[in-house]
C-alpha cells in the first residue's frame, strides 16, 4: 500500500480528516482538484452561529483545526443571542476568506506524514471481494492504494451550476465538477440523490453606499473559538444591513419563469432554512421586505457578499432587482449568484462511525452526506478521520452521543433518519441543548480528544485544572453566607441575608459580577470559569431535569444491537420496521427507536427478542 489513508477533497471535511489521520501518525494522501482551493468558503464568509459555533468549539476540544483557523483569520466577532439564554448563545465570526484558505493549506503542508496532490478521483479501487476499499483511480489514470479512503467531495460530484438560462458542469462558479465518481459509486450500488443549494451575488464594495445602510459592527472583545487560545488580536470590520422592497419583489415575480428552480430545470431539493430570494418572495408574498447583510469577504479585497439574497435568476435580472435596494443603487456585480445541483450519498448507508456499510474502509463525510455548512462538514471530516485512524489501530470507533455534543446530534440524525434536503444543525434539534453550551465543549469532549491522541497532556492538565477551579468556586459560594455588610454593597441581596451565596445566585436579579466584589477569593478566580459556575448554579433546576431525561435516554442508548442482526428473523416486527432496521442497522436500541417508521411496538418486540437471546 502507498498510504494508510487517502482523503478525497480539500474542503472543510477533507482538511480535518487528513489532519486527524496524519496527527495520529498514519501516512496520508489528500487529493484535490485544485490545491489553491483548499479550505475555500464557497458561500458566506463566516464561521459559527447558532449550534454551528458550538460545533466549532467541539471540533477544537476533540483536537480538530477549524477553531484555530478562524481565530487567525477572523475580521469580526460577535456572540449571538446574548439576551435569549445561555444555552442558545453562540459565537460567530466573519472571516477573511483568502486568509482562511491560505492558512488551511499552509497547515496541511506543514503536517509531517501528509502528502498533498492535485488530481481528480474518478473511481475507487476495491479488493477482490469487492467489499473492501484499497485505493483510488484518478482522472489522469494514476492509482494510489490505501486501506482507508475518506470521501469528502462536497458539492462537486456530478455538479451543475445554474444562472437563469445558463448551465455549466461546475461545483463552484469557474471550477469544473468532479465527473465520473458519482457514476462509479452508483455502479457500486450506492444510493445517490440530488440536492440543490445556492449562493448570492458578490459585489464591489466601492460601488455601494454604506451611508444608506445600517452599520453592524462587531464586538470589542473576542472570545477565542479555540480553547488553546487565551487571546485573539485581529483587525475588525463592519457589516451593513439593508432591505429589499416591493419594487425588488415585483422584478423577481415578473421574471420568476426564468428561474431554473421554478422553470423545472433543477430537480434537487433545496434547503428550506436558507431559501433563495425567489423562494422567499413566492412562499411569503405578504412579507414586504427581506433583510440583506452586506459582508466583507476579506481585508485584501473589495469584494462583498450579499447574504440573504441567494438567487439563480439571470444575471441582468439579479442586477436589476439588487439595484432597487437602498445602498445598492449603483452596485457592480463581480460574480453573479447561482444555484448548484449535486450528487449526495444517502447517509443511511453509513454506520455512526461514518464508515460505509457496503464497503469496508470507505468513510464518507461532509456535504457528500447531504449536509450543508462548513462547520457540519468539518465535524464529520474530523470524526471520519479519527475513526479511520482508530480502525487502523484496531480500536473501537469514537461515537458521540446526542446528550454530549452537537456533533453527536448531527451524525446520529444523518445515519438514523437520513436526509432529503440539505441538512443543517439547529439548537432545536438537540434534545439536551442546555448541556451543550459552547463554553463547556472542552469539559464535555477534551478528554475524548486526549484518549484518541489528538490532545496533548498539557491540554488535558489544563482541563483538569479548570474543572478543579470551577469546583472550588462552587464550594466557596456554598460556604460563604450573605452578611449584613454585603447587603450594603449589593441591595439585591437583602432578601437572601443569612443564606449562602449560591442560594442567592439562583435569584435572577443576583449576578456573579455582583458577588465577586464581596469576596477576595472569588475575585481572584478566572472570569470565564466564574461565568460557567454562575450558569451551572442559576440553571441547576432545569439542568437537573434534563439530566433525568438524559439518564432515561442513556438506558436505551446503552442497550447494544449487533450490526449484523437480520431483522427479518425477528418474529413480530412490522414489515416496515424490518425494512428500515435492515437498512439503518442501528447499533443501539435508542438509535433503533429514532428511526422513522419503527414504532414503540417494534422496540417492544426487539427488547423481548434480545432478552430471550441473552
Amino acid at each position: 500500500m502507498d498510504f494508510e489513508g487517502i482523503v478525497i477533497g480539500g474542503g472543510h471535511a477533507g482538511i480535518e480528516a487528513a489532519l486527524a489521520l496524519s496527527r495520529l501518525d498514519f501516512s496520508c494522501l489528500l487529493i484535490t482538484q485544485n490545491l489553491d482551493c483548499i479550505g475555500k468558503m464557497s458561500c458566506n464568509p463566516a464561521i459559527g452561529g447558532l449550534a454551528k459555533g458550538n460545533v466549532v468549539r467541539e471540533i477544537d476540544a476533540l483536537g480538530g483545526q477549524m477553531a484555530k483557523l478562524i481565530d487567525q483569520s477572523l475580521i469580526q466577532f460577535r456572540i449571538l443571542n446574548r439576551s435569549k439564554g445561555p444555552a442558545v448563545q453562540a459565537p460567530r465570526a466573519q472571516a477573511d476568506k483568502a486568509l482562511y484558505s491560505q492558512l488551511a493549506k499552509w497547515t496541511l503542508e506543514r503536517e509531517g506524514g501528509l502528502s498533498l496532490f492535485q488530481d481528480t478521483v474518478v473511481d475507487l479501487l476495491l479488493t477482490n471481494s469487492g467489499r473492501e476499499v484499497c485505493g483510488v483511480i484518478t482522472e489522469r489514470g494514476r492509482r494510489f492504494t490505501a486501506p482507508n479512503v475518506v470521501l469528502t467531495t462536497g458539492t462537486f460530484m456530478e455538479a451543475d451550476i445554474f444562472i437563469g438560462e445558463f448551465t455549466a458542469s461546475s461545483g463552484r462558479l469557474g471550477e469544473p465538477a468532479a465527473v465520473g465518481l458519482g457514476s462509479a459509486l452508483r455502479k457500486l450500488g450506492f444510493e445517490v440523490g440530488r440536492l440543490k443549494t445556492g449562493t448570492p451575488a458578490r459585489a464591489l464594495a466601492s460601488s455601494l453606499h454604506p451611508e444608506r445602510m445600517r452599520e453592524q459592527p462587531g464586538e470589542d472583545e473576542i472570545i477565542p473559538f479555540s480553547f488553546a487560545n487565551t487571546k485573539v488580536q485581529r483587525p475588525r470590520v463592519s457589516c451593513y444591513i439593508t432591505h429589499t422592497n416591493e419594487k425588488t419583489h415585483r422584478i423577481i415575480r415578473d421574471n420568476i419563469h426564468r428561474s431554473p428552480l421554478y422553470g423545472g430545470k433543477i430537480q434537487g431539493v433545496g434547503p428550506r432554512y436558507c431559501p433563495s430570494i425567489e423562494d422567499k418572495v413566492v412562499r411569503f408574498p405578504d412579507k414586504a421586505s427581506h433583510q440583506i447583510f452586506v459582508e466583507p469577504e476579506g481585508l485584501n479585497t473589495d469584494e462583498v457578499y450579499l447574504n440573504g439574497i441567494s438567487s439563480s435568476l439571470p444575471e441582468e435580472v439579479q442586477e436589476e432587482f439588487l439595484r432597487t435596494v437602498p445602498g445598492l443603487e449603483d452596485l457592480v456585480i463581480m460574480r453573479p449568484g447561482y444555484a448548484v445541483e449535486y450528487d449526495y450519498l444517502d447517509p443511511l448507508q453509513l454506520y455512526p462511525s461514518l464508515e460505509s456499510k457496503k464497503i469496508k474502509g470507505l468513510f464518507i463525510a461532509g456535504q457528500t452526506n447531504g449536509t450543508s455548512g462548513y462547520e457540519e462538514a468539518a465535524a464529520q471530516g474530523l470524526l471520519a478521520g479519527i475513526n479511520a485512524a482508530l480502525k487502523l489501530q484496531g480500536r473501537e470507533p469514537l461515537i458521540l452521543s446526542r446528550a454530549e455534543a452537537y456533533i453527536g446530534v448531527l451524525i446520529d440524525d444523518l445515519v438514523t433518519l437520513g436526509t432529503r434536503e440539505p441538512y443543517r444543525l439547529f439548537t432545536s434539534r438537540a434534545e439536551y441543548r442546555l448541556s451543550l453550551r459552547h463554553d463547556t465543549a472542552d469539559l464535555r469532549l477534551l478528554e475524548k480528544g486526549y484518549d484518541v491522541g489528538l490532545q496533548s497532556v498539557e491540554a488535558r492538565d489544563g482541563l483538569l485544572q479548570k474543572k478543579r477551579e470551577i469546583e472550588e468556586i462552587k464550594e466557596l459560594l456554598d460556604k460563604r453566607k450573605v452578611q449584613e455588610m454585603d447587603v450594603e454593597k449589593v441591595t439585591e441581596l437583602k432578601i437572601h441575608q443569612g443564606k449562602s451565596l449560591s442560594r442567592a445566585l439562583k435569584d435572577p436579579k443576583v449576578r456573579m459580577s455582583d458577588l465577586v466584589s464581596l469576596d477576595k477569593g472569588l475575585a481572584a478566580k478566572n472570569r470565564d470559569w466564574l461565568y460557567q459556575s454562575e450558569l451551572d448554579i442559576k440553571y441547576a433546576g432545569y439542568i437537573k431535569r434534563q439530566e433525568r431525561q438524559v439518564d432515561r435516554f442513556r438506558r436505551m442508548e446503552n442497550m447494544r444491537l449487533p450490526a449484523d442482526l437480520e431483522y427479518s428473523r425477528v418474529i413480530g416486527l412490522s414489515t416496515e420496521a424490518v425494512e428500515k432496521l435492515n437498512k439503518v442497522k442501528p447499533l443501539s436500541m435508542g438509535q433503533a427507536g429514532r428511526i422513522s417508521g419503527v414504532r414503540s411496538s417494534d422496540i417492544a418486540v426487539l427488547l423481548v427478542h434480545l432478552a430471550k437471546n441473552d
Binding site: N44, L50, A51, L80, N81, K84, G85, P86, A87, V88, P271, R272, Y273, C274, P275, K280, R283, F284, K287, H290, Q291, F293, N307, G308, L417, F426, T427, S428, R429, E431, R433, L434, P508, Y539, Y542, R545, Q546, R552, M556, I571, G572, L573, S574, M589, G593, R599, S600, S601, D602, I603, A604, V605, L607, V608, H609, A611, K612
Partner: protein, 472 residues
C-alpha cells in the same frame, strides 16, 4: 413460565394502552388497588418502585420502621394526610424487598378497610406523596422487565403482537372520543406553534421576525383549554367508580324495593350515607361488566317541611349529576302531574329510563316507552338491566358531543401538560430566558403527545419553516 394472566396483561398494555417495555422506569413509583372497588371487609393497595418504601414512610405513623424493615414483614400503624395531619385509616403494611417481590422492585401492600371513601382518600394521599396510579397490568410489566417472568413463551407474545400492533396505537387512540381527541390535537398544535415561534427566534437571532407573539396570552389561553378538559374528568370517571344511576320518583313509587331488588340480582355492595337531613343509600353493582353506582334518592314531592325540602333538593342535585336516571312511576296510581313535569324535564336526555313500577298490581296498561316492572316477582328486571347497558353504550360512544376525559392516564397527562404550561406562564412573567421556557413548553407538549402521538423536533422544524420566512 409466563402465566396466562401475565401474558394477557403485557399484551393488554402493549395494545390498548400503548405502554411498552421501554416505558418502564423503576424510578416511578406506582400504586393500585388490588382488590375489587367497593365495600368489603378489607382492601389491598399495592405499591412498587425504587422509592416506594421511602415515599410510603412519609405518610405512615411509624415512618422509620418501614424504611429499615426486612422483606416479608408486617407493620401496623396509621396513615395520615401529610399536609392536614388528618387520619385516613389504620392499616397493616406488608414490606417486600427487591428483588424478592412480585415485581422484583422495592414493594409494599397496604391492607386497609374496604370502604370506598377510605380507599379513595388513601389513593389520593399516595398520589400527593409521589405515587402514580398504575395502569392495568403495569405490575406484571415490571415483573416481566425484572426477569421475574420466564420468557419461554415470548414467541407467542410476538405472534400475537404481530397480528395487532399496527392497529394497536389506533385502538388506543380510539379510546378517546372524536371530540376530545380533536380538542387535544388542537391544543397540542397550538403549543407546537408557540414552540416553533420560540425556536425560530432562538435559532435565527438576526431575523426581523414579524408580529412577536404575545406568548403569555397564548399560554394562558391554552392552559384554560386544558383546565376545561380536566374539569370534565369528575363526570367521566366511569371506569373508576362506575356510572351513577339515580333511582328517583315520588314517595312510595317503589324506589327502595327496586334498589334492593337490583342489588340482590346483581353482585352488589351497599353502604349507607348519613346526610344531615335525610339518609340516602348508595350501592355498587356490575351489569355485563359495567360498573354502576346506584343511588336511592329521597322521594320527590313539594313539602312544607324544611328538613324534607332539603332532602328533595339534594335528590334533585343527585339526579342532575347522575349518568342514568331510573324514574319510577307508581303503576297502581298512574301518571301524576309532577311525574309528567319531571319526565318532560329530562325527556330529551338519553339518561332518562321511565319505569312503570308495581306492574303486578297496575290496572292501567304500561304507557309507551316505559319498562313495566314488578320488583316483587322480578318481572322487568332483566329488561331494565339491558336498557341500562344500552344507554351506557350510548354514553360511552364517540357520538356524544360532550368532551369527557374518562381515563386516569389521560387525566394525569393533561395535568402534567397543565402544570408545565403554568410554569411557562410564570417564567414568561418573570422574564426568564427563552431557552429555559422552551424546556417547560416542550414538556407540556410531550405530555399531550403521549395522548395523541409524539411531536418530534422535526415536526417543530417543519412548523418553523412553514410559518416563518427565515434564512440568509
Amino acid at each position: 413460565m409466563l402465566k396466562p394472566e401475565g401474558l394477557s396483561s403485557i399484551l393488554y398494555l402493549m395494545q390498548k394502552k400503548s405502554l411498552y417495555p421501554q416505558d418502564y422506569n423503576p424510578e416511578e413509583s406506582i400504586a393500585a388497588l388490588a382488590t375489587p372497588w367497593g365495600e368489603s371487609a378489607l382492601a389491598i393497595i399495592r405499591l412498587s418502585g425504587l422509592d416506594s418504601l421511602k415515599l410510603l414512610s412519609g405518610i405512615f405513623s411509624r415512618d422509620g420502621e418501614i424504611v429499615e424493615a426486612a422483606g416479608n414483614t408486617l407493620h401496623y400503624g396509621r396513615i395520615t394526610a401529610p399536609d392536614t395531619e388528618e387520619l385516613i385509616d389504620e392499616v397493616m403494611i406488608a414490606v417486600y424487598r427487591a428483588p424478592k417481590s412480585y415485581t422484583g422492585e422495592e414493594s409494599a401492600e397496604i391492607f386497609c378497610h374496604g370502604n370506598p371513601a377510605v380507599i379513595k382518600r388513601l389513593i389520593g394521599v399516595l398520589a400527593d406523596s409521589g405515587f402514580r396510579y398504575a395502569l392495568p397490568g403495569e405490575f406484571t410489566l415490571r415483573a416481566f422487565m425484572n426477569g421475574k417472568l420466564d420468557l419461554t413463551r415470548a414467541e407467542a407474545v410476538n405472534e400475537l403482537i404481530r397480528a395487532r400492533t399496527d392497529r394497536a396505537r389506533a385502538l388506543a387512540l380510539n379510546r378517546l372520543s372524536g371530540a376530545i381527541e380533536g380538542k387535544i390535537r388542537e391544543i397540542r398544535d397550538g403549543l407546537a406553534g408557540m414552540l416553533a415561534g420560540i425556536e425560530v427566534w432562538l435559532d435565527y437571532p438576526e431575523e426581523e421576525l414579524e408580529g412577536e407573539n404575545d406568548l403569555i396570552h397564548e399560554a394562558e389561553g391554552w392552559a384554560l383549554e386544558i383546565e376545561k378538559l380536566l374539569s370534565t374528568y369528575s363526570i367521566g370517571k366511569i371506569v373508576q367508580e362506575g356510572l351513577v344511576a339515580a333511582i328517583a320518583g315520588r314517595t312510595n313509587a317503589g324506589k327502595s324495593t327496586l334498589f334492593n331488588r337490583l342489588l340482590k340480582e346483581e353482585r352488589a355492595i351497599v353502604s349507607e350515607f348519613h346526610g344531615t337531613t335525610r339518609d340516602y343509600l348508595e350501592g355498587y353493582i356490575s351489569i355485563e361488566g359495567i360498573p354502576f353506582k346506584l343511588i336511592d334518592t329521597a322521594g320527590l314531592r313539594d313539602t312544607g317541611d324544611p328538613l324534607e325540602a332539603e332532602g328533595v333538593r339534594r335528590a334533585d342535585m343527585i339526579i342532575r349529576n347522575s349518568d342514568l336516571l331510573l324514574y319510577l312511576v307508581d303503576g297502581s296510581l298512574g301518571l301524576a302531574a309532577e311525574d309528567r313535569e319531571l319526565i318532560s324535564t329530562y325527556h330529551d336526555n338519553r339518561k332518562l329510563i321511565p319505569v312503570w313500577s308495581k306492574s303486578d298490581i297496575s290496572t292501567a296498561g304500561t304507557p309507551e316507552g316505559f319498562i313495566a316492572l314488578s320488583a316483587v316477582d322480578g318481572t322487568g328486571i332483566a329488561a331494565l338491566s339491558k336498557e341500562m347497558v344500552n344507554r351506557t353504550a350510548g354514553n360511552l360512544s364517540s357520538s356524544t358531543e360532550e368532551r369527557v376525559i374518562d381515563s386516569l392516564r389521560q387525566k394525569e397527562l393533561l395535568e402534567r401538560a397543565f402544570s408545565s404550561l403554568e410554569d411557562v406562564k410564570k417564567s414568561l412573567q418573570d422574564e426568564v430566558y427563552l431557552d429555559l421556557i422552551a424546556v417547560d413548553l416542550k414538556e407540556s407538549l410531550d405530555a399531550l403527545g403521549e395522548i395523541t402521538g409524539e411531536v418530534t423536533s422535526v415536526d417543530i422544524l417543519n412548523r418553523m419553516f412553514k410559518d416563518f420566512c427565515v434564512g440568509k
